[in-house]
Symmetry: D2
Subunit: 343 residues, 4 copies
């Protein structure tokens, strides 16, 4: 049994990690830390865990965390980079759900996150944890930077097109929509029920932190120069991301449906739906699946890809567990076979 620790478990990615790991057949939950809630039983904060998780939050302790096989950081940006070395020194492998190990270009990180990067050496060896792109590297990694939620949905949607060199990479559009849980469990006015319900709006149109992350990922799929217009929106619902992607064909596309199906034929968590399907976010609610459909409306030169995930699962905690499974030679689907809750 893997010994697993979680740093910073009071947010939504934390409770989601607990939900998944508590029933993972190869895992023993060893510690979940929180400075602010130390001493409080986890199940008091998250009553859905009553009867499933007996742990209490504890103060972060290198002794306890250092005895783990793997530690997940479900913390704000900038925390993992400070604590990583100490854990690595004790042989602990690390999966960071924040942005510390996502962007390889330090200047880009510092520009978008407004802080110096405190662990550039570790960053250099870290691996971007999108299994569908990086499985082999993840297997060997000591440190994995778990992708952001939007980047997961957008990259998986564009990947077949860019790898096949079918579209103009310089003029991509990603119109993305996320449920409010993507904003985390922080007390902020804009995320109040009375602000977010029965309304819809874009945000971050001038620039969103996931833009450089997506651009970096797309650039790895093509030799062309990537230009991306990324517009995120806030959906009046809790869970789910829907990315609607637009690209212009530059050559004969052939059978796009077949291209997508073949690209993901052996992927356990990417489901290319039958032609004409309309993926619903609820079809992946609570599940680690990305469902994709591809269209060429009116037979024109614009390709439309629809890509849905649960932002807290394939977009965060579930993908982190998937990465753990890969890193430790567990079956990749271990602990990740939940069926989405519908309705």
């Amino acid at each position: 049994m893997l010994k697993v620790g979680i740093v910073g478990g009071t947010g939504y990615t934390g409770v989601e990690l607990l939900r998944l790991l508590a029933q993972h057949p190869g895992v023993e939950l060893t510690a979940i830390t929180s400075r602010t809630e130390a001493g409080m039983p986890v199940a008091r904060l998250f009553p859905n865990l009553r009867g499933h998780v007996d742990l209490a939050f504890s103060e972060p302790s290198i002794e306890v965390l250092g005895a783990c096989d793997v530690v997940f950081f479900a913390t704000p940006h900038g925390v993992a980079m400070k604590q990583a070395q100490e854990l690595l020194d004790r042989g602990v492998r690390i999966i960071d759900l924040a942005a510390d190990f996502r962007l390889t270009d330090i200047a880009v990180f510092e520009q978008w996150y407004g802080m110096p990067h405190g662990a550039t050496t570790i960053l250099a060896e870290s691996v971007y944890g999108l299994p569908e792109m990086n499985r082999a590297a993840i297997k060997a990694a000591r440190v994995v930077g778990n992708p952001g939620c939007y980047p997961t949905a957008v990259q998986l949607g564009f990947l077949p097109l860019l790898k096949a060199g079918l579209v103009d990479p310089a003029h991509l559009v990603a119109d993305a929509k996320s449920g409010v849980s993507g904003a985390g469990r922080k007390a902020e006015v804009h995320a109040l029920f009375s602000e977010a319900a029965e309304s819809f709006r874009a945000y971050g149109v001038s620039g969103h932190r996931h833009l450089p992350e997506i651009s970096q990922g797309l650039a790895r799929m093509t030799s062309g120069k990537v230009g991306l217009t990324f517009v995120p929106h806030l959906l009046p619902m809790i869970r789910g991301i829907h990315a609607t992607l637009y690209a212009r064909l530059t050559k004969d596309a052939g059978d796009l449906q077949k291209l997508f199906e073949e690209t993901y034929a052996s992927e356990p968590f990417v489901d290319v739906m039958p032609a004409g399907s309309l993926p619903e976010t609820r079809s992946v609610k609570g599940a680690n699946t990305c469902r994709i459909a591809v269209y060429r409306p009116q037979g024109g030169d614009t390709v439309v890809v629809l890509s849905v995930i649960d932002n807290l699962v394939k977009g965060a905690a579930g993908q982190a567990v998937q990465n753990m499974n890969i890193m430790f030679d567990l079956p990749e689907t271990a602990g990740l076979t939940q069926i989405a809750l519908l309705p």
Copy 2:
């Protein structure tokens, strides 16, 4: 492996049965029937099941269903009573999720459901499937009438008080609230999103079909005459029932918290929360749990009980699986250990 059939699987209790049974360790899904959707893969109607359920809906067939160990009826009221004898003759046990085998008084059934009861002999041997009241009888039953959703939440909340004889059974109030999925997957104006969202109202104040079912159940818990005022309301959400129960103490109550905890100490699916807790419906979303809290506001003579379930799980499909487990000597929690999805 139990061979399991489902009759009428196109509604919400049907898809929920499939979600639970597809991952039940002791079950083999044999058939799911639907006249209207025969031939269509189940996962096309319910895409959350893609990759988990390969069955297609089939025409009801006594050959196929008769070869099952157990058949669930997820059909409208009045269907199970017509088909039950034929299945019983072949040794199949039956769990009906509709109302055909809930009310023992035929006149009461006919008054509230507006149809003659077509299987009164079977009704006479059938067992009301509330495990916390009837576990032994369920174990031996050939036919189980699975309780309604409101009746489950209300009965479990009143049970400790009535069994202990602490309250006036003639003046009970159950103010109950249900998510819209309780109305089923029928195309009806009142259940449209634009009708049910951002609004709240009572319904069935003059009389609701669950009133006689609850009254029958409460009467079995007390020797006194039961008088119940039951007011159901429609919540602008999908899943969840919250019953707020009011009863008047007729004698010294002692420690109500202790009474509830002891009553349910060995129940796997009833969670008496710590004193002062406020059960949220989301804490049981997707789980087969009933969470309960008990209060005596301002130390007065009115007891308030808060009882929450997921109407589709403990209020329908989950309880049906629990009954199946009991009937076939499987571990009672088999296939029912899902953690509620929060947030």
Copy 3:
């Protein structure tokens, strides 16, 4: 034209006052103050007001406010009591939407609000602003304590029964449900979308600040001793309160429908719906109306009253404007004829 000032206009009652007053035919909006947002145009914070309200938030100033005919306090509890005397000295009349002038018993105020009352003399002359109870006194008042949202819905529902002496006042039950906007526009975790959506729960079961306010109001309607069990719940929607009220008949009730209709026959903002109606909160969304239905289920001795309001209108800003109209001899419905938004 009345000169009107608003103190503390950055919350939901503030924006609602602005929505109503901006189109009130007898009013000139003079000032809206906010220390934190001074200088910011009101319509930048609340873009629905673009083109309708040109004011910017200003620092509170006795010169400006003192020149008004009436000042509304849309501030936290405890603010109005500190500033009232100064305004009264300049002849300004005051309507407080917080609790400073609701409870006549100072000890009760201090117990439930945890602060000393700083203006007991003013409190002594102030009038509780429920027009259906106190119209004449409101007309003459210099200071009106605008009722709480729950108290409005509950008092209007019980009033006909208590005034007629038909029910046992010692055992009343008010099961009340409110949309999340009742919690205000404060950044608090429990009011986040991801916490409040798709869930339902009770709160304040042990004791809620509106309990003494309601009890005080009910006591004025009866000579008997009032005992009230009040359980508020949080609805996953923005606006609306639904109070479901239970009382036990102590004498022959006669025609309850007629009693309610006659009681409110001349009230412009209380709508007794036809027998058998089920008031929806959406039927009053944005309107200053309380809609009521009365039932006697199964002809028993329990009366059920259903009472709905928009918590921000008849439960706050609308009722405050109604009080202003009464105080200044304007038509009582002036500025309050909006039709509820449905769907």
Copy 4:
């Protein structure tokens, strides 16, 4: 006072017309017809109208409707075309909220709506009712085809760019999102609360009826050939459309903000928000306003326009009333000054 009739008032555009017209200062509501609900008071079906509209639904009658100055058709596609001539013969002017008089190309109409056009002569004289494009023609029109909801939001967003000839008209993208009320008040499974809540999906990607309508409108703004990729999505909320528009600049754009502001400077119902704004659908909930923001992310060659309306107001009933005001020389804002309901 204009005498106004409404044909087919039982849907959401019907109740919205009633909400607006009931308080319109220049209008007398004469008749509202419905075959299915004839005899029923309007306010029984739509209780928000209690106290505001005393009419009952009546059987359609040429005597009654023929005595009106203007008749609104809030009926399914294909009804107005059958009844128009008879009304025109009596001097009645017509505003159709369905699609009968939107598409000038009969073949296109018949292809997308699957029915022959039964009134091609009237179609030839009819005017497309988008005031910001066609005000003069609307003024003189006997028959107005009121635009669809998506077409209104999309056309108003693209108009300044196309009129100025700044973008490539052959590669436009409109990613549009609508609340569920756009689907009408029909009992259909896909619009059930439990199907549409807490989920998000695209629809009509292969082709939606609003595509030819939008294309026709855009073609009138440019001499270039229009190519549009239009992807509508279903939002889990009742009211509101958000169109996110993408176009590629083909020449120096200059100051886009200024272009938009100048284009709409004298329009009473188009609000170009300050640079950097993020229009929320709730800022127009219940109001006849279209709010727009324009961006050029990262200074690239892609322009992004955000355009929001209330689909039932500026996208349907409100725009119809605006058209009526123009046709009858009433102030264009008469009856349309409601402030959006926020929160």
